[in-house]
């Protein structure tokens, strides 16, 4: 995630700041930007949410269709996650088929939802082996000011918690019911900036940091997913410390998520 507009001078400056526990925008190194969640703005979607994390904005829409289950899990619904790095969100986003960067983002968000078992997939079975609900989580990045990983995970969680199963439209039951959600994974993403580790990097910070580490916890403080990215490294101690910091700081996002329910 190189950013040609951020010079080497900027890099030195930001690293010095971080070494003192400070940041260009005045935040502490483990402080999230302001978060705002709105839900239900898209009427054509089964669920929707817009998340602002500082200037980063992500719109998530949930669609549910009926399909056949996979042969090896006849009782489970399915789930698909896509991310659209819309060209209007960042000058560096090219139109065209998804690239490595977009694929990594979609897969990390997908695994964070899927492997945490946030969705009760067995409750999405309509008829074993024949008909199940297929959940589509489509994430539209509208403004990129960094930390798409946490903003997308949060938008997906908020949209899922806002979603109704469209039983009536598809003639499955007489009433639409809430999509069954079993836990609330929240991801926290850290950046390695010089020898410091910062939470919730902006685009400018991402342009000068060397490594990224994302960890998601559920509401009980257990780990549900993690991913290290970029071509730098973290020490073993930094990783273990970041995991603890995440547990201590994800309540900011967690409260925002609870606020919508």
């Amino acid at each position: 995630m190189s950013n040609d507009h951020v010079s080497n001078l900027m890099k030195g400056h930001m690293e010095s700041l971080a070494a003192e526990g400070k940041r260009a925008d005045g935040r502490g190194i483990n402080e999230f930007r302001e978060v705002k969640i709105e839900t239900g703005m898209i009427n054509t979607a089964e669920g929707s949410a817009m998340v602002h994390l500082g200037k980063t904005k992500v719109l998530c829409g949930i669609k549910m269709l009926i399909g056949t289950p996979y042969g090896d899990s006849p009782k489970s619904g399915t789930m698909t996650t896509t991310t659209e790095l819309a060209p209007l969100a960042d000058q560096s986003f090219d139109p065209g088929p998804p690239r490595e960067r977009s694929i990594e983002l979609a897969r990390v968000v997908d695994r964070g939802i899927r492997e945490s078992r946030m969705i009760d997939f067995e409750a999405l079975c309509i008829e074993e082996g024949e008909r199940v609900w297929m959940v589509y989580i489509d994430l539209h990045i509208l403004d990129n000011d960094g930390n798409l990983f946490d903003c997308c995970t949060l938008a997906a969680a908020a949209a899922l918690s806002n979603a109704k199963i469209p039983n009536v439209q598809h003639g499955v039951a007489d009433e639409d019911v809430d999509l069954p959600v079993t836990c609330w994974p929240i991801s926290c993403t850290f950046g390695k900036l010089g020898d410091s580790v910062i939470l919730d990097a902006t685009s400018d910070e991402e342009g000068v940091m060397s490594a990224r580490f994302t960890v998601a916890h559920d509401e009980n403080g257990n780990l549900r997913a993690a991913q290290k990215g970029m071509n730098g490294a973290f020490t073993d101690a930094e990783i273990r410390e970041a995991v603890k910091t995440a547990r201590a700081n994800d309540n900011v996002l967690r409260e925002a998520l609870k606020g919508i329910q």
């Binding site: 898209i42 054509t44 829409g61 669609k63 819309a86 000058q91 489509d138 990129n144």
Partner: protein
């Protein structure tokens, strides 16, 4: 366009959603809603919801598309998968490709492309909720985003459709009218000169109905034009 239908879409001169034949749906335009884009716009038109963002003038990629004596406009119209009732597959389909292409060409008429040789002006239109008329809504939003970006233009381009429903010519079809109507005529004009930069027609119109449809769509464009200017004044606090 279903052509003939038994569905009563107009009763006593009033449409299903309460509008008169020459009335457009409610429109809300907000300029400057995105931080990264050089210019942006959020537009609601009836239940349609659209974001438009502009970057440029910037270096043109791929390079073989560069023009030695002018900029090109690279407009891109896409619909979010969740913007319609049946989920749409992500990516450009043939319809989106065609709309992107004709919208790019329409904007090349008003943007002062000769001032920026070899450059590209990128216009991205994201339809996040769709209920008929999205190409006009997207173009309108894109005009405001271009103005918000300070791109030199001869004028903005309002776009509005007219059509035929139950043998009555009406402006700005809603979703039921689009599905069960007899004709759809999206139009985009340059208000200062009255020139037509985009016109499509599907369906069936008599010569007289065509004249009336042109009149109604033009009038709809002028209504929009006022709202577009108001949105910019609202953002910049004065005449622009």
């Amino acid at each position: 366009m279903a052509g003939q239908t038994d569905m009563e879409l107009i009763k006593n001169g009033v449409r299903l959603d309460g509008r008169k034949p020459d009335e457009i749906r409610e429109v809300k335009i907000v300029a400057g809603v995105l931080d990264n884009a050089d210019g942006s716009c959020y537009l609601e038109w009836g239940n349609n919801k659209i974001y438009a963002g502009v970057f440029g003038p910037m270096e043109c990629h791929p390079r073989h598309k560069q023009k030695a004596d002018r900029a090109i406009v690279q407009a891109r119209y896409t619909m979010a998968p969740f913007s319609v009732n049946d989920r749409k597959r992500p990516g450009l389909d043939r319809r989106s490709s065609e709309i992107s292409y004709i919208v790019s060409q329409a904007f090349e008429k008003v943007v002062m492309v000769e001032e920026f040789p070899k450059a590209s002006i990128r216009v991205d239109m994201q339809v996040v909720e769709a209920h008929a008329g999205t190409r006009c809504a997207a173009m309108t939003a894109a005009s405001v985003a271009l103005a918000d970006a300070g791109i030199p233009m001869r004028d903005m381009i309002p776009a509005c459709a007219s059509g035929k429903v139950n043998d009555v010519v009406v402006v700005d079809l809603n979703k039921e009218e689009d599905n069960y109507g007899q004709a759809d005529l999206p139009l985009a004009i340059i208000p200062s000169t009255g020139e037509v930069v985009l016109l499509q027609l599907d369906g069936h119109l008599t010569p007289d109905e065509f004249e009336e449809a042109m009149d109604l769509a033009t009038s709809g464009c002028m209504d929009l034009y006022d709202k577009m200017r108001a949105a910019l004044e609202n953002r910049y606090g004065g005449k622009k």
